[in-house]
């Protein structure tokens, strides 16, 4: 596919708008071409950390907004985990009223600049879109995520972000453990009710996976910082370098430190390994470690950062999710000559976003489908020098509904490598459950919470990946909102 510059795309949108009349029939709306996201040139972006997707021009946003049919049934809203009034905000963009558009989004979503970038819209709001259905491709659905991002960026770039109104002080004190999407959402909702909020973060920077996991080229850290700044401006207190379970235990916060309620949003940050031979050789990383070094510790900035990262020539990334794409594309940017992505099913089953897979391919990542490592090979010094894989074929569907990959016996082959990054998933961190007697968890170590996010211990709520297992930013936010509502109700009655 040829790469079109942002200017070319904006010009095309202007021509489209010139041809559209005041009143459009549904047929005319669907004839408007879906607006492509302007991106950095693939050849150029391979060697920088800057954001790849550049965002719509005002003309592109308007052209895209005009594609929405304003369905009475609005199936898109049901596809959004927090139920944003999607036709409402898109109509406002079409009318040229960006302020109204962002105000509509903010009724339901607190992180639109983040969610517009990282949500898997093709399986959420955009999946049931009527336009996509009629045009027989989810790729042709209205680009809701890009429009959400457009208005959130417009608001930020024009310095129009307003600090929400805070109700009078209630004197009640709430602790939020973890500053990822769930924690930030809960903090805002609870602070608005006039309660005192303290955020606890184990790392030296808040933001959770948005800061240590998702790379700068997909989610600029300045955008996350803006969200944190808004919370501190609202009066939330932030304590970084504070590990709940070690620096202070949950029960002590309730019994001794005067907290009336706690929300646990510590996520799923424990990397899973494959338990194959050679996994502890020098040069084998969890994706968490690789991405933390690069993103949070800024190891990519070799001149300034003290944290080193492996100088890799040939890298294999194991897995097919967004974390695998992020790790592979980070390795490309750190200067690896070859990056292989190894996944045991086919591209159709990949949990990664279609857009990220597309970007990874454009950047030269080599995709190996229906292959899986058997063992990691070592040189005489105990450093990685290759990987032995098996070829796979797809069998019958398993419990997850995906066809089960089956190894083809005798199909072993080797790839020469010096680095392996394992990105096959995360489990929940055990620290809080190990140090909090009475806190009920399930067999995967996730905290058991009712539909309002209440845990087995009074006044303790939980949400996000620590309850759901590794999921998405927007689901964590949705869980957080429900828990915050329940917490506010509980606090009003004590």
């Amino acid at each position: 596919m040829t790469h079109l510059s942002p200017e070319q795309l904006a010009q095309a949108a202007i021509r489209t708008l010139e041809k559209t009349s005041e009143t459009l029939t549904p047929k005319e709306r669907m004839a408007i071409p879906a607006q492509e996201m302007p991106t950095q040139d693939p050849a150029e972006r391979r060697s920088n950390m800057n954001e790849v997707a550049l965002g719509y021009s005002p003309e592109q946003a308007r052209a895209e907004a005009l594609r929405c049919l304003q369905c009475k049934t609005a199936p898109c809203i049901a596809g959004c985990p927090v139920g944003i009034d999607i036709p409402g905000f898109i109509q406002a963009i079409a009318d040229g009223d960006n302020k109204k558009a962002i105000d509509i989004i903010k009724i339901d979503s607190l992180l639109p600049a983040v969610c517009g970038r990282v949500c898997p819209q093709e399986t959420q709001c955009q999946a049931p879109c009527t336009v996509g259905k009629v045009l027989k491709s989810v790729d042709k659905a209205v680009n809701i995520g890009r429009l959400e991002r457009y208005v959130a960026d417009w608001e930020r770039e024009n310095r129009l972000i307003e600090i929400p109104a805070i109700k009078p002080d209630t004197g009640k004190k709430v602790g939020i453990i973890g500053t990822g999407p769930a924690g930030l959402t809960v903090a805002a909702d609870i602070r608005r009710e006039g309660h005192d909020v303290t955020l606890f973060e184990a790392f030296h920077k808040p933001g959770g996976v948005m800061v240590y996991g998702i790379p700068e080229f997909r989610l600029p850290k300045a955008i996350v910082q803006q969200e944190i700044d808004a919370l501190t401006a609202m009066g939330c207190e932030l304590k970084t370098n504070f590990v709940i379970g070690r620096t202070r235990k949950i029960q002590d916060l309730l019994d001794e430190d005067g907290f009336d309620a706690l929300f646990i949003g510590t996520g799923a940050g424990l990397p899973r390994f494959m338990n194959i031979e050679g996994e502890n050789l020098v040069g084998v990383y969890s994706a968490n470690e690789y991405l933390t070094r690069s993103n949070l510790m800024r190891a990519y900035d070799k001149q300034r950062a003290d944290t080193p990262i492996f100088d890799s020539e040939k890298v294999a990334v194991l897995g097919g999710g967004n974390v695998a794409m992020d790790a592979a594309r980070t390795a490309v940017r750190l200067g690896a000559k070859e990056v292989h992505l190894i996944y045991r099913r086919t591209e159709v089953e990949m949990p990664a976003r279609v857009e990220e897979v597309h970007h990874a391919k454009e950047e030269g990542v080599i995709f190996h489908m229906l292959e899986n490592p058997k063992r990691i090979l070592s040189d005489e010094k105990g450093w990685v020098n290759g990987i032995e894989c098996l070829r796979y074929e797809l069998g019958e569907p398993d419990d997850s509904g995906r066809r089960r990959p089956i190894a083809i016996e005798g199909s072993e082959f080797e790839i020469d490598l010096d680095t392996v990054i394992v990105a096959i998933g995360n489990d929940s961190n055990p620290l809080i459950r190990q140090t909090t007697p009475g806190l009920e968890t399930n067999k995967w170590g996730n905290i058991v919470a009712d539909e309002n996010g209440k845990s087995s211990i009074d006044r303790i709520y939980a949400g996000g990946d620590i309850v759901l297992g590794a999921a998405t930013v927007i689901l964590a936010m949705g869980e957080g909102r429900k828990a915050a509502a329940a917490m506010n109700e509980m606090l009003a009655n004590i």
Binding site: A202, F203, H204, K205, T240, N241, F242, V243, R246, T247, R248, G269, L270, P271, F273, N275, E279, N280, L281, V282, G283, Y285, S286, N288, E289, T292, R293, M297, R298, D301, R304, A305, D306, T307, P308, I309, F310, D311, K381, G382, W383, N429, P430, L431
Partner: protein, 278 residues
Amino acid sequence: MNKIREKKQLSETVFLMRVEAPLIARERKAGQFIILQLCEDFGERIPLTIADADPAAGTITLIFQAVGKTTKKLALMNAGEKIAALVGPLGTPTHIENFGTVVCVGGGIGVAPLHPIAQAMKAAGNKVIIIMGARNRELLILENEMRAIADELIICTDDGSVGRKCLVTEPLKELCEQDPKPDLAVAIGPPVMMKFCAETTRPYSVPTQVSLNTIMVDGTGMCGGCRVTVGDETKFVCVDGPEFDGHLVDFDNMINRLSSYKKQEAHSCKIGLEGDSQ
């Protein structure tokens, strides 16, 4: 918080700092460590053992050897200055009980993390025999502090400038040969020394605890950079450890993993401290 209250130079390259950290001082137990950062934007996170703590004064004591970029920069800081970030206490505390006779073996800077453990072992009613090793007299640290705890103190130097001229494994072997032999050995020091301590006690079946000093990033269990092979299992030193059964640790793999960034570290030590070459 994090203000340096006191700084002492213990040997040519080893420094002691007493740092304000009231929350860590209150919660910490023997065997635990902190992660420290000198700059939150570009600084690296390094683990250091808590050598001592004074909850009443709200301070913890760190003892470190200036060997790399961050520790050299830290060594240049003085009382009154603040450390950008300190997080802890981290790791699983040492299992302390009355075992009977405990022989504590410390090599080089490893005497610092050994100190709170020896202290706690003594407080639990054990007979504590301490073996301290260093290359020479100048590199020996905490001699008085350890003497105050020990029922018996054995000093070894490579050059014989003080104590016996031998490796720490020699008196350790002698103790294992005695009847009754020690009930527990605790060895902390360079990986090679811990490996050979474990090899020394193995034939005598003296249970041997080692405290592993692997590469770490977060120190809270979310990356696995610190992982080691213990028996047939992979363990994370920062949450499952830092202490493990020395007879089950794959030291060769651990030593290899410690060399992962040799090239970058050699480079960054040079570029980091131009002003430090006098």
